[in-house]
């Protein structure tokens, strides 16, 4: 009787204990998974902020002389930080991250006209076990600064070793730079398209008026000579010309003011682009050029994108 009572008592204690143990065993991997997910979401969030906001807005992910600490302390990054630590340099477990960036010394050519700075980033969390197992291609990882001599290919090849629970996330802002370039080119082409259509319309009207005058003239003078419209284009005071979009009024009148504003926007470091129309004779043609503003250049070191507008009567 007493033995049964004692056994029952021990069983009860063991049951209570085992239920705690089972709950802990179940909740620990769940929690590790959730914290890993939160940490990775943070890394992906930084990727998005860099590629969707920083680089499109500033034409570079970060100034070359900015430290990673300052980069991570920006409000846009801090607000994504995981956990309850209020520290963007910690993962969801509250342990220090390894964060590196590599601004390319050389630029990546996107086209013949433009080359741009591209920055690579690597974020590494030690994971649930708190121990870094990932090998890095440089010894200069102390602290959380950049790694000299690291190129994009090596940077993107950093992976956690098999069996490690390290979380490794590498990305670059090259895609954002390419998209920005495509957008810049599209806007410039759109301005050129509008200018060409405007010019062609005026040319057609000009041509039609002279054709009609010639046709009426022929009714009374069959030997009348057809007007040389190319000459008239240069001599007739009413001859049309390309709109001079170097003035804000002309830009607005053509409906392309927004395009110019977008292309010539001011950047955080006062850098800017300039769109300029150059021509020796706006009746015959012009060149629309996007270039870096010489006294306050943008982070894109070389920009010289031109579109030639061919005029005249064909």
């Amino acid at each position: 009787m007493q033995i049964a009572l004692m056994l029952a008592l021990f069983s009860l204690l063991a049951g209570v204990m085992s239920s705690y143990v089972v709950t802990a065993v179940v909740s620990t991997p769940q929690l590790s998974k959730a914290l890993a997910s939160e940490t990775l979401a943070y890394f992906r969030g930084v990727d998005r902020v860099v590629n969707r906001e920083f680089t499109p807005n500033q034409l570079q992910a970060m100034p070359v002389n900015m430290t990673m600490q300052d980069f991570m302390n920006q409000s846009a990054i801090r607000q994504l930080a995981p956990g309850q630590w209020g520290n963007p340099m910690l993962d969801a477990w509250g342990r220090s991250l390894r964060v590196m960036r590599q601004p390319l010394r050389q630029t990546v050519a996107l086209s013949r006209e433009v080359s741009v700075p591209v920055t690579g980033f690597v974020f590494i969390s030690a994971g649930a076990d708190g121990v870094f197992q990932t090998e890095l291609p440089s010894q200069q990882i102390a602290g959380s600064t950049n790694t000299a001599g690291l190129n994009l290919a090596r940077l993107q090849s950093i992976v956690a070793p098999t069996g490690s629970d390290d979380l490794v996330f590498a990305f670059t802002d090259e895609e954002a730079q390419r998209e920005t370039y495509a957008m810049v080119k599209a806007r410039l082409e759109r301005i050129a398209t509008v200018m060409m259509k405007d010019y062609q319309t005026k040319i057609n009207v000009f041509k039609a008026v002279h054709d009609e005058a010639y046709r009426v003239q022929l009714l009374t003078n069959p030997t009348a000579v057809a007007p040389d419209l190319t000459v008239l284009l240069l001599t007739d005071p009413n001859a049309p010309s390309f709109a001079d979009v170097n003035t804000e009024a002309a830009r607005r009148d053509l409906g392309v003011l927004e395009e110019f504003v977008a292309l010539e926007r001011m950047l955080p470091n006062n850098g800017r682009m300039r769109v300029e129309l150059t021509s020796s004779n706006l009746r015959l043609g012009a060149t629309l050029t996007l270039s870096n503003f010489s006294t306050s250049p943008s982070p894109w070191p070389v920009v010289n994108l031109s579109i030639v507008l061919n005029g005249g009567i064909n």
Partner: protein, 379 residues
């Protein structure tokens, strides 16, 4: 013979045995109690962390679905509204949502940043936090965290991060939030998702613009061919169709599907010419795509935009912004479409739309109705 009566031995423990067993148990329990207690406490902390993470996931799903945060508590109905809102997005029970592992109420604090400018567009970003008082059941104050006694303060308390001014200060404090003592917290923001949605919206607009341009070129070519094929007056060499009768006029037409303006009625020049072309080509006017920017509801304009997308060969959901939902029914907000993209002059009243007769290309899509009677901008 031993006459002493036989007394059967009764089964059981002697006093000494009992004392030894109880003493052993006491020693065992005494030795194991602190680690067991710590183990239980640690387990509770893990369970609470899991529950907070689950709440964050539920909130993420809710916002992705509804493009808005659940309402914050008010003083009279604490922890009811947001918990009810999230009920369909998690397996946690109502009690597990509203109370932490130690039975004390959680705090749900949220705010909306509607001042954020992303590449010239205002993007609404949601921020929220869940707090637990932790094992000691006592809330600890910290920058951006408001308490009253041992509990968290109501959401309207001015010390909360969500009540700082200006709005940018809330975002800054949200980024720096750190709990004190054994309090626990999870944070949520849809900022990266909004950036992605913004990009998706831009992609849609770009694809629509390309499709419109292609359609306009086809329409233009068809119209030129049509006018060229008409019989001409031998004397004037002009056709008898108003559409084609003026030299150079064909090139001046706007060949986009029709976007009506809300003020001043449809663009007479653009619309009527367009209709004339298709009427002459025996296309019933009723079958034409016409986006009415002044429609009585967003649903009606969305239906117009969906027709336009089908005309352009684009997916139906390109009709609308990926960023903004109609608050009345949670449906995507349709774009406004303008077949004549000439901007208004920047002057008093922004009244006139200059050069409505001019062939400015391409058409314009917008997330705001710049043709409204009181346009937010003149652009």
């Amino acid at each position: 013979m031993n006459s002493q009566a036989f007394t059967p031995r009764r089964a059981g423990f002697t006093l000494v045995e009992m004392v030894l067993v109880v003493a052993a148990m006491a020693i065992l329990l005494g030795a194991s109690a602190p680690p067991i207690f710590r183990f239980i406490q640690q387990r509770d902390v893990q369970v609470e962390q899991n529950n907070l993470q689950e709440l964050r996931r539920a909130l993420q799903a809710y916002v992705a679905d509804r493009n808005a945060l659940p309402p914050a508590d008010d003083v009279s109905t604490p922890a009811v509204e947001w918990a009810n809102a999230l009920a369909g997005y998690t397996n946690l029970s109502a009690l597990q949502m509203t109370n932490d592992q130690w039975g004390t109420p959680r705090a749900y604090i949220q705010t909306v940043d509607n001042t954020r400018n992303v590449q010239g567009a205002t993007v609404v970003i949601n921020y929220a936090t869940f707090f637990s008082r932790g094992p000691d059941r006592t809330a600890q104050t910290a920058p951006g965290i408001a308490i009253v006694g041992t509990a968290f303060a109501p959401p309207l308390d001015s010390a909360w991060w969500s009540n700082q001014n200006p709005v940018s200060a809330r975002v800054t404090q949200f980024g720096a939030l750190a709990t004190a003592g054994d309090d626990m917290m999870v944070k949520f923001t849809d900022y990266p998702e909004k950036l992605e949605r913004y990009n998706l919206t831009l992609t849609r607009i770009d694809r629509i613009a390309s499709a419109l341009e292609a359609l306009a070129r086809v329409n233009y070519s068809e119209t030129v061919a049509y006018c060229s094929g008409l019989p001409r007056d031998p004397t004037t060499n002009l056709t008898n169709v108003a559409l084609c009768d003026t030299p150079g006029r064909v090139e001046r037409l706007v060949y986009y599907p029709i976007g009506e303006q809300s003020s001043g009625g449809p663009s007479a020049a653009g619309v009527h010419r367009y209709e004339a072309i298709y009427a002459t080509n025996n296309t019933p006017l009723a079958d034409q795509v016409r986006v009415n920017n002044s429609a009585a509801s967003n649903d009606l304009r969305r239906a117009d935009m969906v027709k336009l997308m089908r005309l352009l060969g684009l997916p139906d959901d390109y009709c609308c912004s990926a960023l903004v939902s109609d608050p009345t029914n949670n449906q995507p907000m349709p774009f406004f479409y303008f077949s004549n993209p000439r901007p208004r002059g920047i002057g008093a009243g922004c009244a006139g739309r200059p050069g409505i007769d001019a062939p400015k290309l391409p058409a314009r899509l917008s997330t705001t109705n710049n043709d409204a009677a009181s346009p937010p901008t003149c652009g």
